[in-house]
Amino acid sequence: MHGLINRTIQSFVRDTRSEALWLEIAKAAELGFDDFEAMLSYDPALTKRALGAVACKLGLPQDALLEDMGTYLVSHKNTEAVRRLLRFGGVDFVEFLHSLDDLPDRARLAVDDLILPQLELRERSAERFTLQVSARQRGFGAVMMGVLRAMADDYGALVLLEYVPEAEGVESIDIQLIEAAFAEGRGFDLGGARDE
């Protein structure tokens, strides 16, 4: 599993809980080191053990943990770069949803060995969408739940999300757009100057 994904697990614990807790988790998961390197690759077994140890220490079910991590990726100040890269996908939430099909390719343009799950948006009506997430490891769908929730906030859109756990290797999320411009949302400055 790519270091960026493993590093996210570590940063999530460190930024939302504490460095000390991460060190405990690294030990409990028997990683054999304290830090994941973002630009190296790791045996998927390590990722699984790390996630298991985090869920255990935080007392959260795996899906809830993954969703929290998705939210963290978009909303924490230490992962601002991720939020910005996602915001390049579109000027409003619907355009952003449509850009998700390209997300794995976009990610590969920047980091060519980063393999993200295939995403496919099905448009059922102007306000109803289904996002299908196909990956070798299940769990990405739950992460996308968190990402979508946080991105909707970011755009100021009001949405209802429903997670449909795996069926035949595909996880899906039903998305219902209640109001595209419900709140102000956060700013997004193309030039990268301070937002908001």
Partner: protein, 380 residues
Amino acid sequence: MPKVGDLIWGARGMNDMKPMGAVPHDLAELGRLMDAFCPMHVMLDAAGQMVHVGATLQKLRPDAPMVGKTFLEVFELRRPQGVSSMSELMRSAGVKLHLRFYDTPETALKGVLAPLEGGRGAVLNIGFGISLIEGVRDYALVSSDFAATDLAIEMLYLVEAKSAAMEASRKLNLRLQGAMIAAEEQAYTDTLTGLKNRRAMDHVLTRLIERKRGFALMQIDLDFFKAVNDTLGHAAGDHVLQNVARFMVEETRDEDTVARVGGDEFVILFDGLTDREALSRVAARIIERLEVPMPFGEHFCRISASCGTVLSQSYGQPDAGVMLADADMALYASKKAGRAQHSFFSEAMRDVGGDGGPIPAAIAPKHKGARPREERRGEE
């Protein structure tokens, strides 16, 4: 998607295009299409005056309406050079133009010009080229300022994504470099005493020779150390070595290199110090300090040391191997003279060598290893 050129040629070949219906046949229609596809275009009349300006281009100078001004008074044409009139500008049709605003910010722009049918002027499309990043920043541009087909947003995305990836790689490199320095440091350190090891000493000696500055090389051999090891054990021996290392470091300067090069053998390199008296004083102080009996448990460890020194200026072209062998010979002279002493190497030592016979430099260190035992037997 139609390009500027298509529209212009479409206008020129209007009669042929008629069946398609929507071909622009007047400038207003052309302007409308250009607004949709090329928000940074400008239309010039025959005199070179700007008659229609795309919204994004005008956004770069929000307080100075461009319509009514001549193109060449607002934009400086950097390439091709020497263009100062509309007629000259018209001759650069189809060529890549390098432009710049006359006033600040002097954003660099790229452009291409296509003439209008019947000498009615020209249309120019303008873009940021590589100054896109500064442009977006300086003028606070947003997605809707670019045509949907413009790759500007994708380029901005890529620049940010690549910067983030590079930053992560840079951090990894820094950490790897730190680990490498630590590993090198370890490879150059004698772990028992914290002194430099043989490898490090060889390294420093080579550097000193290359730098062609004067320096001194002192070999130090502990006397009676083996007796400590044999009677009180290795722990006592280690204790002694650590003390000796500390004395040597304390009695030398920061710029000197103190190395443990064998079991009880040390080399000190004195960078820039070649004064015989000063060197003799350092040797005497070291010997004096390590002769003070060192308590270990209920015992005292008693040792001494013999030293031999060579100076780089004694050689036309100093050689590390020769200097070490000569220093060893001087050290052997100290041993012969009754130990606990310091000697400088002199050519005369080559002739008297070990027991009167010359010692070939290359095998001198081997002889030395066998020596202390014999000497101790004579003494005890």
